[in-house]
């Protein structure tokens, strides 16, 4: 029987999580990637739509009226250095267009994008190339590898076109091949590799130029579910090792929740909600998001912050101590084993308590739909 109060950080890493959230919130005041009022309208005379009432029409009506499609509609967000920012939406929600607007692979119609203080939207072609060569790299759904080049030369492509020396880029490419776990396949051609391995090449290619921002456009959608899970873990591992800032596009909510520090949910080109995974699941912004997250196993996402309550008068305050950002699933065992409600503590402050019933409500609720 554990009646004693254990030391605060019993679940390893929980304080780290809280600390990371705090650090990112702080860092976001000085964002690495800043997007402000971004629009993309496809169609002729598309520039005449932004700023008029037409822009607020539903897509179908706008299409019928003007022949234009609003793919990205007034999107703004900031990404902190080292953050994993996920953009999620169904197909046609404009997320792929959005990510292409960030480096102007698709020219945005209006708005501003800033990377590390540099205004992208007004950059010249040469500046833009410089940015793409050194600061922002992208990983694509369909890999986009060069079939006529061996793995090692594919990885070295970005270094080659910016003029790095042969020995230097060879060495760097080899490091990247090793980093993504493709050692021994340097001399293979892309079509000799499985889909998952091809995407590792894409990943290594993007990492090779040592960019400050990595963009992922649905990188794992074309892969089998098992491989997809491997690759997601690979991205988590790499993020741990190299700590890059990432913008990750996906239509898969599980993937978004698993990888994202924060998630931007898009619908018909517009932002619906931005928030941490637990915020999106715990406090959906509207019915659309609620419907979206209804199938999610809440205990895997929600943190104690979302299930704690104020202690009732006379309630025991001798239970185990936990951080507010502990995921319910991870706290469950300990709370269920304790006769006293667990205390949710941040620093020295008691935020609330969680007892067995609070935990069970989350877990049982998702078993009976």
């Amino acid at each position: 029987m554990s009646t004693q109060a254990p030391p605060a950080a019993t679940v390893p890493g929980q304080d780290e999580v809280s600390a990371r959230i705090a650090r990112l919130d702080e860092a976001r005041r000085n964002p690495l990637l800043h997007v402000e009022g971004l629009w993309k309208v496809f169609g002729t005379k598309s520039d005449r739509i932004i700023g008029t009432p037409d822009a607020d029409l539903p897509r179908r009506e706008l299409m019928a009226k003007t022949g234009c499609v609003v793919a990205v509609k007034d999107v703004s967000f900031d990404v902190a250095p080292g953050e994993v920012f996920v953009v999620m939406g169904l197909s046609g929600s404009g997320k792929s267009t959005l990510v292409r607007c960030l480096t102007r692979l698709i020219e945005p119609s209006a708005g501003q994008v800033t990377v590390a203080g540099q205004d992208i939207t007004s950059a010249t072609d040469a500046q833009l190339r410089e940015l793409r060569r050194k600061h922002v790299a992208m990983v694509f759904q369909h890999f986009g590898l060069l079939p006529h080049r061996r793995v090692i030369d594919n990885v070295a492509y970005g270094l080659e076109i910016r003029g790095d020396g042969k020995a230097e880029r060879r060495e760097r490419a080899q490091e990247m091949v090793d980093l993504v776990g493709l050692s021994g396949n340097e001399d293979s051609y892309p079509d000799q590799l499985s889909g998952g391995m091809q995407q590792r090449v894409g990943l290594a290619r993007a990492l090779a130029v040592d960019p400050s921002v990595l963009l992922f456009d649905e990188p794992f959608s074309a892969l089998d579910p098992l491989i997809r899970r491997d690759m997601q873990n690979e991205v988590i591992r790499l993020h741990h090792e190299v700590g890059k800032t990432m913008v990750f596009i996906t239509h898969d909510l599980q993937e978004a929740l698993k990888l994202g520090d924060r998630i931007l949910i898009m619908r018909d080109g517009a932002m619906v909600q931005v928030g941490r995974p637990d915020e999106v699941v715990g406090a959906p912004a509207d019915d659309y998001v609620r419907d979206f997250v209804s199938e999610v196993p809440r205990s895997h996402v929600l943190t104690l912050r979302w299930v704690m309550r104020d202690p009732r008068p006379g309630e025991s305050l001798e239970g185990p101590v936990m951080g507010p950002d502990t995921v319910v699933k991870n706290a469950a065992h300990k709370v269920l084993a304790s006769v006293h409600p667990a205390r949710v503590v941040s620093g020295d402050r008691l935020l609330g308590v969680v007892d067995r019933e609070d935990i069970l409500r989350v877990i049982v609720a998702e078993e009976s739909p």
Binding site: T103, L105, L128, R129, E130, L131, R132, R133, K134, A137, M138, F140, Q141, H142, F143, G144, L145, L146, P147, H148, R149, Y157, G158, E160, I161, R162, Y189, G202, R205, V209, L215
Partner: protein, 637 residues
């Protein structure tokens, strides 16, 4: 329905007015327009040295091309004064070609090339064969130097595409016979005119396929490399060209085959090569000689096609060679030494230089072929004669009478009505213009005869196309059996088809029609077969499960759904047939083709030949536009 009504009115008009206003023109008679063309030719000839454009630009091109071809001939094929033999004798030439083939295409192709070249020597057409290769490759060289950059430009710029596409269309659809005489006007006869004619015909494939190859490089790869900061030049050099390399080599292969077929025809304007003995033999009805020289052309076509195909496959496999590259370098070096030794021998010893010292199989083979043909025609003349006469009297003559013996205004009205019914307003306008041109050049009745032959041959081609196309489209086994034959049929220069047709049926319109059918059938059959194959298997399955019989599946599902392919096959069939029917002027096809041929041979008929060329082009454009629009319409439905 409408077409039936038009036909009815036409028949009625024909009954009433047969022989009235048919605009015939005697063989040696010239209209005013044609005489003026003769005068034009004379003034061109007179101005050749005085006019700045003709002298400097055209003259410069002509001199450069002539010098290049003659230089290559001195080196490889013709006695280089004061030597009695070329600079490099046959042994050296064989060794050089073998080495180049080995470097580009591998061992098997090398063996094929060596055997082919030796066969030219043994068959007695060494210098003609090498001449033909020289003309072909001179044109191909220019086509590649011009065509690949142009293809790159087309792949990157819509404006260039918009400008170049119609020009390429005209270059490809114009029957080759038609532009030989205008070229003579500019370049006079000889190697340079032959090279230019060959170039015009051979350029479109390499341009088109290069542009296509570059455009179809995966968009995702382009985007990925752009996202990494590639410049446009880097994109082209490091991504698009390497990825399109194999396609581009296929384009070069097509260009080589087109060049070969045109270079043989260019013998009519005094281009050097194998076309010359074929034409002479055709005109003197010397089947044996025509057979042997035609055989050389076929061997050359197979040799070039196989070797370039192997080269394109190698382009893919070579970069992945797991073998030690040093071994290959050693082999190439050794080959170079061997070739050098062979060249030296061929310059020093007459036995290695003079191909006439090789055993002569050509003469005996020609005799055998001649005898065999004589025996065959003697024995089966009843059969071949019956086929020919039956076809001629039952189908060709009545139809020709309908077209050529009706008053011109009636036929013109019928053609306009047909164009309108099939294709709408735009082809009707084109048809009107084309008919006006035909009327204006003064060759109405000849054109109608040629049109008759073209239409009749096309009907036969379409019958073959539907029968074999459906068969191949439905049966994998039939497809694997026939396709190589059809592919081979398409690589053989059209000229060669005249030889067997002439051997079987003598000189007649029917002979030209047979050659045209044989020439045009492969492309039409392939189009129909691909169309039938393209019909959704689910639909066929659904029709079968609903209890349709095989005939019902074909007639109610597959053919209607492949309608677009059928119209396209008719379009291509018409153009192929037309270009061959006029070449058939060499074997008794008469009409426009004959007029063009006599324009080459008789100076006073030059203007008439040129006029016939114009009429052929007008006819071709008219038929092409009507069927193209009909195809577009059927596609929309």
């Amino acid at each position: 329905m409408l077409l039936g009504a038009i036909l009815g009115i036409w028949l009625l008009g024909w009954l009433l007015f047969e022989g009235v206003a048919t605009l015939p023109l005697g063989r040696a008679t010239l209209t005013g327009f044609q005489t003026r063309l003769n005068e034009l030719r004379d003034s061109f000839d007179a101005a050749r040295d005085s006019n700045v454009f003709l002298d400097v630009v055209v003259g410069g091109i002509r001199d450069a091309l002539d010098a290049f071809v003659v230089g290559a001939q001195d080196l490889l094929s013709q006695a280089a004064f004061p030597r009695p033999v070329p600079q490099v004798g046959w042994l050296g030439v064989v060794a050089l070609f073998a080495w180049v083939t080995y470097a580009l295409a591998g061992v098997r192709s090398t063996i094929l090339v060596v055997l082919s070249l030796l066969s030219f020597g043994v068959l007695g057409y060494w210098s003609e064969s090498i001449d033909l290769l020289i003309v072909t490759f001179t044109a191909v060289l220019i086509a590649v130097l011009v065509g690949i950059p142009l293809g790159i430009a087309m792949s990157r710029s819509r404006t260039v595409t918009a400008v170049a596409t119609p020009v390429l269309d005209v270059m490809q659809t114009m029957p080759s016979f038609a532009y030989l005489l205008p070229l003579v006007l500019l370049f006079s006869i000889g190697p340079s005119a032959a090279v230019v004619a060959t170039l015009i015909y051979a350029l479109p494939p390499v341009v088109r396929i290069t542009a296509h190859g570059l455009r179809t490089v995966a968009a995702s790869t382009i985007e990925a490399t752009t996202s990494m900061g590639s410049t446009r030049t880097q994109l082209l050099r490091k991504v698009q060209l390497p990825m399109a390399k194999r396609t581009i080599i296929v384009g070069v292969n097509q260009t080589i085959m087109a060049a070969l077929s045109m270079a043989t025809i260019a013998a009519l304007i005094d281009g050097p090569g194998l076309g010359e003995p074929v034409i002479q033999a055709l005109q003197t009805l010397d089947i044996g000689t025509a057979f042997v020289s035609g055989l050389c052309i076929v061997i050359m076509a197979i040799m070039l096609d196989r070797a370039t195909t192997a080269a394109s496959q190698r382009a893919e496999s070579e970069r992945r060679a797991t073998r030690d590259p040093r071994r290959r370098r050693i082999a190439l070096g050794a080959g170079a030494v061997l070739a050098a030794v062979a060249v030296y021998l061929s310059r020093s010893y007459l036995w290695a230089a003079d191909p006439s010292r090789l055993p002569d199989l050509g003469r005996p083979l020609a005799d055998v072929a001649g005898t065999a043909t004589d025996w065959f025609t003697d024995t089966f003349s009843a059969v071949t004669g019956a086929i020919k006469d039956g076809f001629t009297y039952a189908l060709l003559n009545p139809f020709q009478s309908l077209l050529a013996d009706s008053p011109w205004w009636l036929v013109a009205a019928v053609l306009l009505a047909v164009a309108f019914v099939l294709g709408g307003w735009r082809p009707t306008v084109t048809t009107a213009v084309c008919l006006a041109v035909i009327f204006g050049v003064g060759l109405w009745q000849d054109t109608m005869v040629t049109l008759t032959m073209t239409l009749v041959a096309t009907v036969m081609v379409m019958l073959l196309a539907v029968v074999f196309g459906v068969w191949m489209g439905r049966s994998k086994r039939a497809d694997t059996a026939f396709r190589p034959l059809l592919d081979a049929g398409q690589t053989i220069p059209p000229f060669v088809y005249l030889v067997p047709a002439l051997a079987l049926f003598g000189t007649s319109r029917f002979t030209a029609i047979v050659a045209a059918i044989v020439y045009a059938a492969p492309v039409a059959i392939k189009l129909v077969a691909d169309g039938i194959r393209g019909v959704s298997p689910t639909t066929v399955e659904a029709a079968t499960s609903a209890g349709s019989s095989t005939i019902q599946v074909i007639s109610k599902v597959q053919l209607p759904m492949a309608r677009n392919a059928l119209v396209l096959a008719a379009n291509q069939g018409l153009l192929y047939v037309l270009s061959m029917v006029v070449i058939g002027g060499l074997v008794g096809g008469g009409a426009l083709g004959y007029t063009v041929v006599s324009g080459f041979s008789q100076a006073q008929l030059f203007g008439k030949g040129l006029a016939a060329g114009i009429a052929i082009v007008a006819l071709g454009i008219m038929l092409d536009r009507i069927t193209q629009h009909a195809a577009a319409r059927s596609g929309r439905r």
